[in-house]
């Protein structure tokens, strides 16, 4: 775990500024310690490199039109470094921006030919992008502040008596259902973390039957779930279904003493 501290570079009238241990720090005010989790949330709050740059500019009360490229680039790189240290998934976009900043910085250091002074500021493109992003960041906030359904706007729910409505319900073919399932599974498999197992449906169905029969109040005999007429397969399916339900903590098995009857009840 990395120890992360926040310090105010107070002489520069900056807002709290976080640094990783190991960076040259002069004073670390104890009260400004940011727990790593909080810092993670803070860093994850950025919607991308433009958002981070805007933050760095705004917190120094600077205008987008007059970005001190060197200072901003240095701070930007410190955040990138922090994100790497915290093993935040660092989007490639952040690195592209870093190289763009480095390029602008190097071009600004070069002596510029006097005659073409009124154009070609290397920062112009960056400023244009920042302005455009800022514009839509604001638009998104305005949009979010509009009254909207489910939040400020509530529709009326006026009851409709039992009219003889010939409700035309959509029809669905089994094929539609199958292809919907295939698609959702195909998609889920692209994102490796979700594994949709191909359990036999008989177990799933039996799980539902068991859940239907039990309640939290009553004890249902364990034996009742096994019907010898179903043969060995049926018994095994019931048994697996009960184990699966136990694993998912959906049911409880109760046995007062060894060899006493076992009862099944819903988790209360």
């Amino acid at each position: 775990m990395h120890k992360v501290f926040a310090s105010t570079a107070s002489n520069q009238s900056e807002m709290p500024f976080a640094l990783v241990e190991g960076e040259p720090l002069t004073v670390i005010p104890q009260d400004l310690y940011i727990p790593p989790d909080a810092l993670l949330v803070f860093l994850e709050a950025f919607e991308g490199p433009l958002d981070l740059l805007l933050y760095l500019i705004k917190r120094q009360n600077l205008d987008v039109l007059s970005i001190p490229i060197a200072a901003i680039t240095r701070q930007y790189m410190e955040y990138i470094h922090l994100m790497e240290q915290l093993e935040l998934e660092l989007a490639a976009e952040y690195l592209v921006m870093a190289s763009m900043l480095a390029e602008i910085k190097s071009r600004m250091l070069l002596p510029r030919p006097t005659e073409s002074q009124d154009e070609d500021d290397p920062r112009a493109e960056l400023v244009r992008r920042l302005q455009e992003y800022e514009q839509f960041k604001k638009a998104a906030e305005d949009l979010d502040n509009l009254d909207r359904l489910e939040r400020e706007i509530h529709l009326t729910h006026i009851d409709i008596p039992k009219f003889k409505v010939k409700l035309a319900l959509p029809t669905v073919e089994l094929n539609d259902l199958m292809s919907a399932f295939r698609d959702v599974v195909n998609r889920a498999e692209q994102f490796a973390s979700h594994h949709v197992d191909r359990e036999p449906l008989s177990v799933r169905e039996r799980m539902v039957i068991v859940l239907d029969r039990i309640s939290a109040e009553d004890f249902t005999s364990f034996n009742d779930f096994f019907n010898p007429a179903e043969g060995r397969m049926g018994v095994v399916v019931s048994f697996i279904a009960i184990l699966e339900l136990l694993k998912e903590s959906l049911i409880e098995l109760v046995q007062t003493e060894p060899y006493a009857p076992i009862y099944v009840k819903a988790k209360s």
Binding site: P161, S179, R182, V184, L201, R204, E205, M207, L250
Partner: protein, 197 residues
């Protein structure tokens, strides 16, 4: 509280609520307010509102568990026409939700969202419950106690299945795809209509 001030508040509450509201429930809603109506004031306001809506397209009606606005039966002729139009089509989101409930039951809404990667709207669940294809099987004992959903016998009947076992397995669905590449289960334009619902 003045009756005239209370009346529009009650109108807002009756119209917004999807359940009837009793005098006691209404009284409780104001607890803690600086201006709090008495039960008698609420009763008086309801009386005046019933009078006010006596000639409207809907009325304030008393039922067992309280009062609610309801459409007047006199207008049934026109109201039913709202639904007699061509049958709507289910969205892709609804179909996928139904498929996951069928194949992965018992399953919670959160689990469906995890697999689909998108949030599932309350309306989808509501539609499936109303269609009687899906039912609540209880609650999962995790924080929030989410509802567990499963399919109903109505679902099996609709799709002409004797049991869930008759649903083709994923491997079988994929086999069908392989052997009948020309047999497209979900033609392109159908897909688009569905997602635009």
């Amino acid at each position: 509280m003045e009756i005239e001030k209370l009346k529009p508040i009650l109108e807002a509450l009756f119209s917004a609520s999807d359940k009837p509201l009793s005098v006691n429930q209404l009284f409780d809603l104001f607890v803690g307010d600086i201006e709090q109506p008495t039960r008698d004031e609420i009763r008086k306001a309801i009386e005046e509102l019933s009078e006010k809506y006596s000639a409207n397209g809907f009325e304030l009606k008393q039922v067992a568990s309280g009062y609610r606005f309801q459409v007047r039966t006199d207008f049934e002729t026109w109201v039913v026409r709202l639904w007699e139009q061509k049958p709507p089509r289910y969205s892709r989101a609804l179909m996928e939700t139904l498929a996951l409930i069928a194949y992965r039951q018992p399953i919670t809404r959160g689990e469906i969202e995890d697999i689909r990667g998108v949030s599932v709207s309350t309306n989808i669940i509501k539609t499936l419950l109303e269609r009687d294809w899906v039912k609540s099987l209880g609650h999962k004992e995790v924080p929030g106690r989410p509802t567990l959903y499963g399919t109903t016998s109505g679902f099996l009947d609709y799709f002409n299945l004797k049991s869930l076992n008759e649903l083709p397995t994923l491997a079988e669905i994929r086999d069908i795809d392989q052997f009948n590449p020309e047999l497209v289960l979900f033609p392109e334009e159908k897909k688009e209509v569905a997602s635009n619902h």
